[in-house]
């Protein structure tokens, strides 16, 4: 089902439930992975995914078709995830701990994460990046989204995204530079 068809179903009160069901079916996995790669934990990603779809349902009347429905949903997910991380960061400051360290610690113990050394090191290197840069990297590197789509999701210009991605790859390379087992080959 296309974005347009789903939106038409969602716009009509009588078919809204059906449209929503189609929307969830279409986007749940993509949005889940977008969130999961940022928060790392499945439990948090699950909660956020539910919140995102509830927000989409509640605010569908505000969608003014300036962009694709899916881009709008990604954008809500992106903002919601960043807000969540901001809150977590504040909480960790109050506990005199470091959010990234505790995320890594939890990741190590997470049985829903491939605990191989190389994957762990890669996630560790990713956590060095600022949140927005990490999001750019994830969307480009894992989801292979074109910069134009990422720009619409993140509401920034394409050129700044390109440089952000460039810096992100550079920083990851630098953090992993001393590891002999890892060789890099990033897409541009």
């Amino acid at each position: 089902m296309t974005d347009k068809e789903i939106f038409e179903l969602l716009s009509d009160q009588r078919t809204r439930e059906r449209g929503f069901s189609a929307l969830v079916k279409e986007l749940k996995e993509k949005v889940y992975w977008q969130i999961r790669r940022m928060v790392l934990s499945h439990e948090d990603a699950d909660d956020l995914l539910q919140d995102v779809f509830v927000k989409v349902y509640q605010n569908i009347e505000n969608f003014n078709r300036d962009s694709n429905l899916s881009t709008w949903v990604y954008r809500i997910a992106f903002n919601h995830t960043l807000n969540f991380l901001k809150v977590q960061k504040r909480k960790s400051i109050l506990k005199f701990s470091n959010l990234e360290d505790s995320m890594l610690e939890n990741l190590k113990a997470d049985n829903l994460f491939d605990s191989s050394e190389i994957e762990y090191k890669f996630q560790k290197a990713l956590l060095v990046l600022p949140k927005k840069q990490r999001a750019v990297f994830n969307l480009r590197y894992y989801d292979e989204l074109p910069f134009s789509d990422i720009a619409r999701i993140m509401d920034v210009s394409e050129s700044s995204l390109k440089s952000s991605y460039h810096f992100a790859t550079k920083k990851i390379q630098e953090s992993l530079l001393n590891d002999d087992n890892i060789k890099f080959e990033f897409i541009n």
Partner: protein, 158 residues
């Protein structure tokens, strides 16, 4: 693990994160009843009429209050004579200095006119401050603290 692994290729093939079994299949069933129960309700947007009447009432009270406070004291208090008229005249002549009543009254009138003018200006300013639907909704989001979400939902770029 081989001696050299290319992160790019490795990541594309193996997603390091996993989900519990049937997670995506069950997700839809989990979210649907939750969503149908949850319908966001906005007091202000759903009760625009009530809000308008309330605002008008507040405005009337405010204007009434201003007028009450600016009126000269004791203007409406009924006068009661506690002495005979001739005695009052004598007291007036002896004790009250010569006052140009007409001048005093005209000064008082001017003051009242100025205050009324000020009230009208204030009223006009309050009218200008009346919010339209969009502004009420914006304010509502702002008060709820999720202004960023408002901008996202309405696709407003700053």
């Amino acid at each position: 693990m081989s001696k050299y692994q290319t992160i790019n290729k490795m990541e594309k093939k193996n997603n390091p994160f996993k989900v519990p079994e049937n997670y995506f299949e069950d997700f839809e069933n989990r979210i649907s009843p939750f969503v149908s129960k949850t319908k966001k309700r906005y007091f202000f947007t759903e009760n625009k009429e009530v809000l308008r009447y309330a605002a008008m009432l507040v405005l009337l009270f405010a204007i009434g209050g201003i007028i009450y406070l600016t009126l000269p004291e004791g203007k409406n208090v009924p006068q009661t004579n506690i002495a005979s008229n001739s005695l009052i005249d004598t007291i007036k002549q002896n004790l009250i200095p010569n006052v140009d009543v007409e001048k005093e009254v005209s000064l008082l009138d001017t003051e009242i006119n100025t205050k009324t003018q000020q009230n009208k200006t204030q009223e006009r300013k309050l009218d200008e401050l009346k919010l339209n639907d969009e502004e009420i909704k914006y304010l509502e989001y702002y008060l709820q603290g999720d202004i960023h979400d408002y901008l996202t939902y309405n696709e407003i770029d700053l």
